[in-house]
Symmetry: C2
Subunit: 316 residues, 2 copies
C-alpha cells in the first residue's frame, strides 16, 4: 500500500505492506487530516520514524469481532496496555506503555490502511459525513479543556491562536456561553470566527491581568508570554501547544499571582461525535485543500504555509 | 520607636515615629518571626524600602472600634481596597491596590508598633500562647494549598523542602491522611518530621512520574526540576517558593503530560488559628532562637544561615 513515511526530518511516499497487528482492527482510511503536530514531527519535535498522520475517518476492513467489519469509524490515537497504573486509574491517554498513532511507535494514517485496537474505535453516526468525521480527533482535543477545567458561563475567556486547533477550540468554547474573545493572526481565521458570531480581538485591545481563562493555542512560545500577561491573578492558563524547545518563565510571579497553568492534550471522542451529529460545531469551514494520497508530500507542503488551516488527504 | 529598616539591600535598626494610619488599628508587637521572604527582600527579590517583617502576634493599643483595644491579635498582611474587581470577586489577597505588610508600601512588624486595618485582625484564642500565634501567617500560607486544590486521602504527596514553610506544610498535609513523603536536606528538619511520624525520603528514593501531588517549597529553582520529574501525568505541582530570577521549562512536556501547575501564596487565618487552638499542629518546634528587637540585625543574620528554621524577635 501507499503511505507517507517520515524519517530523519524527511517525508516521502513509500510502498509498504498492509499493517498486520494481531488482535487489532484493520482500517481502510477514507480521509485523513494534516495537523500541526505532523508538521512539528517533521521538524523534529519528537523523534519518530514511521507512517505519519493520526486524524482520520475510515472503514473497518477486518477485525477479530466481525460485527465491526464495514463500520465507518474514527479512532482514538493512544493504544494502551490496560494494566499500568495510569490505565487502572482512568487515565488511559497517559498509559506508560502506550503507542500513539503516527506519533510514537505506531504507523499512522497517511496511508491506505492503518491498524488500531477495537477499543480505540468509535462508530461515526450515519448523518456525519466523512469531511466532518475526519475532525473527530482534533475536536476531541479541543473538548479536553472542558474535561479538565470548569468553564463558568460568566468567565471572560481569551483564546490566543485561531489556527487548525484554535478554530475548533473557539467553536467549542463558544458553546459554553462564556465571554469569549479570540486573537487571530490571519484574515481567513478572523472571517471564520466572525461568521459564527465569535468576537475577534486585536493584541492591543487585550487588557492585561483581566481574563479568567486564557487558552494558548498558537503553537509557538510567543503565545505563552502574552497569555501570562493577560490572565488575571488566580486565573487559569491552558496550554494546548506542543513545540520543540524550552521556555523561560518568571515563576515567582506565578506564585504571587497564584496562576493555574494546565497542559492539555488528547480529549474524549464520544462528545466530539455528539457535537458533530447535532451540528453544534462545523469543522468543515476549515478545509482549504484536499489532495490524493499519492500527493501527500505536496499536501504537507501546503499545510505548512502560514495561515493555512485544514488540508485533507483522500486515501480511499 | 525602634524598627528594622530595609533600604538598598541593607537592614539597620532605626528610630522611627509610631505608625499613624487614620482609621486603622495601632498594634503593639509582642513577637515577630523572620521568614524566607524577608531574606529574599534583602537580596532584592522585590524592590521594597521600609520596616521589614510580616509575621507577628501583638496587642491592639488603639483602634477606631474601642472593643478591639487590648485584644491579642494576629493580622492578615494584605491591606485591600475592597472596591477593585479582585476584592469584589472574593479574591482580596489579590487586590489590585493592595499594600502588603513589610513587603509592598506598608511598614512591617520588626518594630515596637505596626498599623493594620481592623478587618485584617484575628483575635488569638486565650489558649494559644504567643510563641504559637506568631506562626499564624505562615501556617495560613501552608493551608492555602488545601484552599486551592482538593487533596484526596489516597493521594501520594511529595513535599520538596522542609524549611520554615515546608515544616508547616508537612504538618498540615499530614492531617489530610494522604500518603506523604518529604524531602528534607538538614538533619534537624528530618528529626522534626520523624518526631511527628512524617516520612522522610531521600532524593534517590523518589520514583519519577509517580506522585499525584508535588509541593515545591525549597525556595530555590532546583526544586522545580525535581518536582517536574516526580509528578505523574495529570498530576498537580504546587509552587510555594518565591525567589529572584527566571527559570527554563520544557512546556511541551507539560502539555503532553497534562500537568497542572499552581502558584500558591497567602492563605486563610481562621483555620490556622483553629488548628493551633486544637494543637493539631505544633509550630513551636521550629523555633531555634529568639532575639530582642534591638538585636534584629543579628536575628536576620542567624535566620539566613543554612538549615536554620524559625528565628523570633521579642518586640514588646
Amino acid at each position: 500500500m501507499k503511505a507517507l513515511w517520515l524519517e530523519n526530518n524527511q517525508v516521502a511516499l513509500r510502498d509498504l505492506p498492509k499493517p498486520e497487528r494481531p488482535g487489532e482492527a484493520l482500517i481502510k482510511i477514507r480521509k485523513a487530516g494534516v495537523c500541526s503536530t505532523d508538521l512539528e514531527l517533521v521538524k523534529g519535535y519528537y523523534p519518530y520514524a514511521g507512517v505519519l498522520g493520526h486524524e482520520f475517518v475510515g472503514e473497518v476492513a477486518d477485525a477479530p469481532d466481525k460485527d465491526w467489519i464495514g463500520a465507518r469509524v474514527a479512532g482514538e490515537i493512544n493504544a494502551v496496555c490496560g494494566a499500568c497504573e495510569a490505565c487502572r486509574n482512568g487515565r488511559p491517554t497517559h498509559c506508560e506503555n502506550r503507542t500513539v498513532l503516527g506519533i510514537v511507535n505506531r504507523d499512522g494514517v497517511f496511508a491506505e490502511y492503518t491498524a488500531l485496537p477495537i477499543e480505540n474505535l468509535h462508530r461515526v453516526p450515519e448523518t456525519v459525513p466523512d469531511e466532518m468525521a475526519v475532525f473527530t480527533e482534533p475536536l476531541a482535543a479541543a473538548l479536553e479543556i472542558q474535561q479538565q477545567i470548569q468553564i463558568q458561563p460568566t468567565d471572560r475567556v481569551l483564546l490566543i491562536g485561531a489556527g487548525r486547533l484554535g478554530q475548533l477550540i473557539a467553536q467549542t468554547l463558544a458553546l459554553t456561553g462564556c465571554d469569549l474573545c479570540v486573537l487571530a493572526r490571519h484574515q481567513l481565521q478572523k472571517d471564520l470566527l466572525a461568521a459564527r458570531g465569535i468576537r475577534v480581538i486585536s493584541e492591543e485591545a487585550i487588557h492585561p491581568r483581566k481574563w479568567d481563562l486564557v487558552v494558548e493555542a498558537t503553537g509557538s512560545p510567543d503565545g505563552f508570554d502574552l497569555a501570562r500577561r493577560a490572565v488575571r491573578p488566580r486565573g487559569t492558563l491552558v496550554m494546548k501547544s506542543t513545540y520543540k524547545g524550552d521556555m523561560t518563565v518568571n515563576f515567582s510571579s506565578i506564585v504571587v499571582d497564584e496562576i493555574n497553568i494546565i497542559g492539555s492534550r488528547c480529549g474524549p471522542f464520544a462528545p466530539a461525535l455528539r457535537l458533530l451529529e447535532k451540528r453544534e460545531v462545523d469543522p468543515t469551514v476549515l478545509i482549504q485543500d484536499e489532495f490524493e494520497l499519492k500527493d501527500a508530500v505536496r499536501a504537507m507542503e501546503k499545510a505548512s504555509q502560514p495561515g493555512v488551516l485544514k488540508v485533507l488527504l483522500n486515501c480511499g
